[in-house]
Symmetry: C2
Subunit: 635 residues, 2 copies
């Protein structure tokens, strides 16, 4: 556990009133203001703020005892840092000494004393308060700490379940304090941008709503009316659109959303999205708004981000990166080598090329011959066989420029050079080929690309700077996709309210599968952190999509259709996944590290043990009873 | 429906970037900034902002058609106001005329034109844009409105159910726009105060939590584990305390809370509280924080509020106002007249005075003889008989200074004068007496006081200025109350985490019923808008309260007790009821008028028809089934 040595980084300190420093729209005459964290309370200073300028001042500090040393020093900690307390060794101070040295670590004390300079040679340049110490005059134990179930400094080495069970101890770590404070301040700056600069209205929408037909991932909440249930919505989608119909014009909300996916490793049953909707806007308008939002709220200490963000079409993302959320921090792009290898007499390639949409694509793993072992390549091949039923064909480019590959004997020298040039391979690189149906080949190589990057980095070849933040818009998604279980039917690629691309609108009525939607995803370092669309504002068009394309019952959406028919303005919006965004910014391993009280991957609160039993008596007002699985199977 | 004539009052406009104007802590060099509401969208101006200075400019407006007049004028509306569009009457503009005049009202259009001065005599001083009009050049219908189920201008005259069913239309009214925008901006200013000025951390706490034992008002949420339920918490109480144990130091959250009370007139199953907790704080600290918070976030247009707020003890509030949430906008205080009437030979009074805690109290209704009818007094008497089993004894002070009362014949002239002096009665006043057990008498007269004030005001005697905001702290509540159903047992007056008053702490172990709690309620104009306390931070004391005083099982709170034992700092907090606060500020009749999508008093969403049926198939993953009432009664 990294204990608070420099908890408040420059951004955290400076950021506190950066409302007044308007990075995005510089204001002349603005004033940087430190938050006053010592008002209303019994301390006069925090444990992180004392410096040489305070020498001679009498101060009162409140905090936790971090260490006790030789009956002479105590290190006191609070949310802002550490201060060394020095205990006079004379008889007059024996009571204070007893108070501070007999109490267990992690107890809470209040000390009053004088800020003094540390003796020469004893300053600590690694500690922001390392030039001073506080010579204690009075000390009071505010609350004694019992023996903890572990040494605090070993805590994060313990398993995550223990951290979650004792979240209130885990939270005392510098890392958790940093994560939660950064989250708070970044959201605050987003609010300033939206509310103060651009006139957005923060509207709270209901979380007790109506179940979406087929909404299998929605928690249900029984009401006191027998058989009637609320549901916890996955997003405020309907409400935000209705707000636009209601003339709210610009809406945002830091919205709690719910998704019941059972056990998933890095998902939470409740999560937060920054939810935005505007009237009279188009896709570039939303994109510019979001770029400005992120730029304005971006933590100073993470370096500037550049706008506008680059943009890529869904098709290009798939064909170049093999995914709709490319990690563009490194190249290793997918290259089409079909033409190069078209006349090579290798049966494997020939067969695949002759398939419908048959293609041969390749990625070049830089320095792969040096950093990857044969068994890595076999493992990659097994993975793609398992996941995509797709065989890889690796080419290892030896230091002597000879190719080690099953393919080698089919290539003459000029073909070989042509291939290596096409994929920009150098000595010691590994080229991985895949052949077959285009989409599958690209998805396969996209997966190989990411796995290979992980492997190279694990072996010591850095590909991605930890401090690099690569934003990317992915646009021009198809509006509909074939249903996996029934390819003749279509389903919405995102949701049924997405408007068709203006140039494809005529196809909606003839070839809906060819229509692109006005949907945009925002990707950061290969993770989707947001998505949105321009919505359908025409009731007839919405009805056509629901009834004729998606073959859905419109009745449960009657209120929305009626609203669109009552003077709905053109509108669009976006939602950013706040947990994921903060997780990427602080470089946490899991979104659980940026949530104060997360659930385990099984959806449990390990501290309080929720969910828990509820007596039949307590269920009675809700007219439900438990169907115990044994009883269910007996039926 | 008050249509947007002057929707954006001075506060709304000026307030937008009042982040930068720091009322509370004036900043030199701060800059007032208008929110830029025309960025990213297809309009260049809103319908509320055009003035004479814009004459000659070409502008593009987007909005709803409010009126069409004589094929010559169209009034266009958006969230910010109204602008008159003038249609040239020459042939060249016939297409534009057709577009704007044939489309139904409430359709959405985009017009481009030039701002011109209104002809002399046609300016409208009641309209902020009344000096100008826009001479239209091009017009486009963005969305046509079907025939609405009612005339928009009659809409608020319709019943509330219709307003809620068509909330997206109701929201277009000036009043709803004002309410929602004021709410958003006031919350934003609260966030600035807490986060930017005082270093509070905005932490989102879970809403899927564990059921509180006996928490009958908590919605349950079935999980995929058979028989295991989450519950939706009534407040983040446990989490905020755990955050303090975790060293977060200063927490706030605009928190969604849930309370299932079945049908209650002015309650909502989900509501919002501004939730605050601090470490190392005492009661005056929290009070000063909240006074500053309200002062800073208070809408400018509602006039200044003065701090500190007055404070009254629970006992005094009961005896002077007959309630723990006094409306101090008017006097009519309760006076103890026991001593004056002690020796008056009226059996009714004598009997009641001899009861345990027997007393005679009175209120004086100013001008009651003029404004109240006999049947009003009878109605009041019936009400108190029904609610408190308490008879009233009215004295009507006639213009000739004679008393009309059953009591009159028992009073000699000097007693009469003494009584009138004690209650400060004047000619034409009505004095209402009640006799009996002190608390009941005070509650009775407290109720009479409020009813009488309503009556006087309904009859035209203004007692309370609509623009008056009277804040009041109520303090020194008892920590425990006798259980109504079993007076020998105690229950928490507020919740079991409230710390005892320091001077009463020793009584906790001997006479707990005499202990006052460190609890404070904040009252505004007779409504409770907040409450909080200093919490118990000592595990032993908390355990004692739970086990020995309240006789509760501590097991469900084991995690909290363990947390208190792990270095919990002294801490305290408060929660403000945001819906009620905003409701009082805007002067709305119901909290439903300050919530975008409220539920009906039966807890239904009348727009989408939630709660709704859910199929047994959809309930299966949650291992629950509906117990239909008929089946239940057959058992």
């Amino acid at each position: 556990m990294r204990w608070l040595r420099c908890l408040c980084g420059p951004w955290l300190r400076r950021g506190l009133c950066a409302a007044l420093k308007a990075q995005h729209r510089p204001l002349s005459g603005s004033v940087a203001l430190e938050a006053d964290v010592n008002s209303f309370v019994s301390r006069t200073k925090t444990c992180g703020e004392l410096r040489s300028v305070h020498i001679g001042q009498e101060v009162t500090l409140c905090g936790w005892i971090q260490y006790q040393r030789q009956g002479q020093f105590v290190i006191l900690r609070d949310f802002q840092g550490l201060t060394q307390i020095v205990i006079p060794q004379d008889a007059a101070a024996s009571h204070v000494k007893k108070t501070l040295c007999d109490v267990p670590v992690e107890s809470v004390v209040k000390v009053t004393g004088t800020v003094v300079s540390r003796p020469p040679g004893q300053t600590n340049p690694n500690m922001p308060t390392g030039d001073i110490e506080v010579k204690v005059e009075t000390a009071e134990v505010l609350n004694s700490c019992k023996k903890l179930p572990f040494e605090m400094k070993d805590f994060t080495k313990k398993n995550e379940a223990l951290r979650m069970q004792y979240r209130y101890l885990d939270m005392r770590s510098a890392q958790m304090q940093y994560n939660l404070r950064l989250r708070s301040q970044m959201v605050m700056k987003m609010r300033e941008y939206l509310c103060n600069y651009y006139g957005f209205v923060d509207v709270e929408t209901p979380t007790l709503f109506k179940k979406t037909p087929g909404g299998a991932k929605e928690f249900v909440v029984p009401s006191r009316e027998a058989g009637k249930f609320y549901s916890l919505p996955q997003s405020p989608q309907q409400f935000k659109q209705l707000l636009m119909v209601g003339g709210l014009d610009r809406y945002f909300q830091v919205a709690r959303c719910y998704r019941d996916e059972g056990s998933k490793p890095d998902r939470q049953p409740e999560f937060t999205q920054v939810d935005i909707e505007m009237s009279f806007v188009d896709q570039p308008g939303i994109q510019a708004l979001i770029e400005g939002l992120l730029q304005y709220s971006w933590p100073l200490e993470k370096g500037p981000i550049n706008t506008p963000f680059p943009s890529i079409s869904y098709n290009e993302a798939l064909s170049v990166y093999g995914t709709d959320k490319p990690d563009t921090r490194f190249a290793m792009k997918i290259t089409d080598v079909s033409d190069v290898l078209r006349n090579v007499q290798m049966e494997f390639l020939e067969n695949h090329l002759s398939e419908p949409h048959g293609t041969i694509r390749a990625i070049c793993i830089p320095q792969g011959a040096k950093y990857l072992h044969d068994k890595d390549l076999s493992r990659l091949n097994e993975m793609t066989k398992f996941q995509f039923n797709q065989v890889l064909l690796p080419l290892i480019l030896r230091p002597d420029v000879r190719l080690k590959s099953r393919l080698a004997k089919f290539l003459n020298e000029s073909k070989k050079l042509e291939l290596l040039k096409a994929v920009q391979a150098n000595v010691d690189d590994v080229v991985v080929l895949a052949a077959g149906e285009q989409e599958k080949v690209c998805l396969t190589l996209g997966k190989v690309r990411l796995e290979a990057a992980e492997l190279l980095e694990a072996r010591g070849l850095p590909l991605r700077k930890p401090s690099a933040f690569h934003f990317l818009w992915v646009v021009d998604f198809p509006l509909f996709l074939q249903k996996e279980e029934s390819p003749s039917e279509l389903e919405s690629a995102h949701h049924p309210f997405t408007a068709p691309h203006p140039s494809d609108e005529h196809l909606l009525y003839t070839e809906p599968s060819k229509v692109r939607g006005q949907h945009y995803d925002l990707v950061l370092n290969g993770s989707e952190i947001g998505g949105g669309s321009i919505r359908i504002h025409n009731a007839k068009q919405q009805c056509f999509v629901l009834e004729n394309v998606l073959k859905e019952d419109t009745k449960p959406l009657a209120h929305l259709l009626e609203a669109l028919d009552s003077g709905a303005p053109p509108h669009g919006g976006i939602a950013l996944g706040l947990d994921r965004l903060i997780c990427l910014i602080v470089g946490a391993e899991s979104i659980r590290d940026v949530i104060a009280f997360p659930k385990s991957f099984k959806g449990r609160d390990l501290m309080s043990n929720a969910p828990d039993d509820v007596s039949p008596e307590e269920l009675k007002p809700y007219h439900i009873q438990v169907s115990w699985p044994s009883a269910e199977t007996q039926k």
